[in-house]
Amino acid sequence: MDKLVSFIRSMVQPLLAVIVGLAAGAIAIAVVGGSVPETYAEMWKGAFGSFYFFTNTLSRATPIILIGLGVALAFRAGFFNLGSEGQMVLGALSAALTAIYLPGPAWLKLIAALIAGIISGGIWSAFAGWLDAKYRMNLLITTLLLNYIATLFAGYIVSYPLKDRTGSAAMAQTMMIDKSVWLPKLFKGMSLHYGFIIAAVCAVLLFLFMRYTVKGYEIRMLGGNPLFASYGGVQRGKMMLLSMFVSGGFAGLAGSIEVLGTQYRYLDGALTTPGYAWSGIMATLLAGSHPLGTAIAAILLAALQTGGMGMERNTEVPLEVSNIIQAVLILFVSAKITYSFIKRRKAARS
């Protein structure tokens, strides 16, 4: 019974935030003279209306889920990883390059590409962790800065040395990955691919890891009360490198899955323009760093985006209404984080 009550209590705030967000969206719709119920109905249809749209939403959610999981892990350990964008981009680039240039059978290429993505994203993230652990440089700032360096570096690689010169399009992109290495689609003619399954499995695994393993407990302890954790024998520096590596690994995996399942090449700006990284961070915040909750929140945010596109197709209301809803949602959810933060601060003082 107690569990149920606390579960309901933990759901109240996100639900309230969703309602406030939708209300803000309703005001915006009314301002441009649209009909609120009709517009929301179109939005719903655009996100979940048919099997096609539903799978579309899930495929958009895939990278957001993975990034959200990575940020959630770091957040649980007490680190604010704002560098998902750079980690994702580097992961995507190395996955694309591995898939294109590695010799061998297709299955080997696919697995190697995924692993390359995870490792490069992880190393980039762990680098920021190392700078913090060794030189005490603020992680928040270094991760933010490393984003720019990563995206610019990837942009340089695909605009000069490894640019696709076979096609007629003068785009900054790599060559197309061979069809045999693509992540297969789940359903014929739909955009949803096996990457979604990987993301879902990752969410469950992370949930189990955080809950039932010693390392998971140590990570939670480090985030909850660093002093107590160090008293209990948790080595902060080592833990930081590990959790940052895994966190970046998730972002790198997100990038490589997006490349192998949807884009089939690394195209400059194709991962940064939709703002997957920021959506992932928002999903984490919305779910309070709970792995399964993050996955659900990611689908919700993806639904807002695809729903917004559907709404724009069929009504006069512009797409940006969904941005407004998202932002208001996050703004209200942040009050919840405040609440847990005050609790933590009290714990740290006593």
Binding site: V31, I141, L145, L152, I324, V328, L331
Partner: protein, 307 residues
């Protein structure tokens, strides 16, 4: 190389640096009171958009700048209310504010002007270009320094004014104290919350000015997301400059110069990626040498980012 480093390169540096500098000064004030303002990007965007709105309806440059400042201040007050009053995580509020600004401006672009992407109207008046009487006759210097919008000169004055304010006035010292050690400041009877609100308000004003320079200074138009990361660059400039007005000005100049150089290199069809990357690399390297100051640690504790 002669063509690369000519007069117009330095003149455009001065032009490009102004929005970054103004916003970075705002960020510096916020950082000094222990609020790490990630929402600069959104505040500039709001400023840029409302400057165009004001210009469209009044046709007067001064009125539109005032309107831009008002709108930015309104938003920064939202930031202040959430992070000071409700004690929400500053970083989260900043991120949300950026998204809200992007959504609202693009949405209002459709709602008010019924256009998508960009709004341009030839009847709108841009900021005037001021020629400085004596300096404009000096051969090289005149071409670089003279002939900019008033906001460019205002930003330079503001750097000096802010420096004097922070380090030479009583209120400035109180502001520093509020960020350095809020508990000690409170025990001396300094109203920390009020000072924080004041800092956020100033940041709003500065970001409004930055936005106006962006949308009315070089070109008189608004495009969706026209800040394109300038707010984050300003944030980096704040950090590189150690939240010290003079330092912030120097690092903003570096970023502005790199920006101008990148645009120039594009004209020569040379890779711009590394010149654009340089400011960030320099900042990381600089962070190695300048150890964190007390107020930054307080800010960090408050936003629970690292430890």
């Amino acid at each position: 190389m002669d063509h690369l480093f000519d007069v117009s390169l330095f003149a455009s540096t001065l032009r490009l640096v102004t929005p970054i500098l103004l916003a970075a000064l705002g960020g510096a004030i916020c950082a000094r009171v222990g609020l790490f303002n990630v929402g600069l990007e959104g505040l500039i965007l709001i400023g840029a958009f409302s400057a165009i709105v004001g210009n469209h309806f009044t046709g007067d440059v001064f009125a539109s700048i005032i309107f831009a400042i008002l709108c930015s201040v309104l938003f920064s007050m939202l930031f202040g209310y959430m992070s000071i009053h409700l004690r929400a995580n500053v970083i989260v509020v900043g991120i949300a504010l950026n998204f809200l600004a992007l959504g609202l401006t693009t949405f209002s672009l459709r709602a008010i002007f019924d256009v998508k992407g960009a709004y341009y109207n030839k009847d709108m008046v841009g900021l005037p270009k001021w020629d400085i009487p004596v300096i404009k006759d000096i051969p090289w210097l005149g071409d670089v320094i003279s002939g900019h919008s008033p906001l460019v000169y205002l930003s330079i004055l503001l750097v000096i004014a802010l420096h004097l304010f922070l380090f030479k006035t009583v209120t400035g010292f109180r502001l520093l104290a509020a960020g350095e050690n809020p508990t000690a400041a409170k025990s001396l009877g300094i109203k920390v919350t009020r000072i924080q609100y004041g800092a956020v308000l100033m940041c709003g004003v500065l970001c409004g000015l930055a936005g106006s320079q962006l949308s009315l200074g070089n070109v008189t138009m608004f495009t969706e997301g026209m800040t394109s990361g300038r707010g984050f660059i300003a944030l980096v400039a704040t950090m590189l400059g150690q939240s010290n007005p003079i330092g912030v000005a120097a690092s903003s100049l570096l970023f502005g110069f790199m920006d101008a150089l990148s645009i120039r290199l594009q004209g020569f069809a040379l890779p711009t990626h590394f010149t654009m990357m340089l400011p960030y690399v320099v900042t990381i390297a600089a962070m190695l040498f300048f150890k964190d100051k007390g107020y930054m640690q307080e800010a960090r504790k408050a936003n629970e980012s690292s430890r």
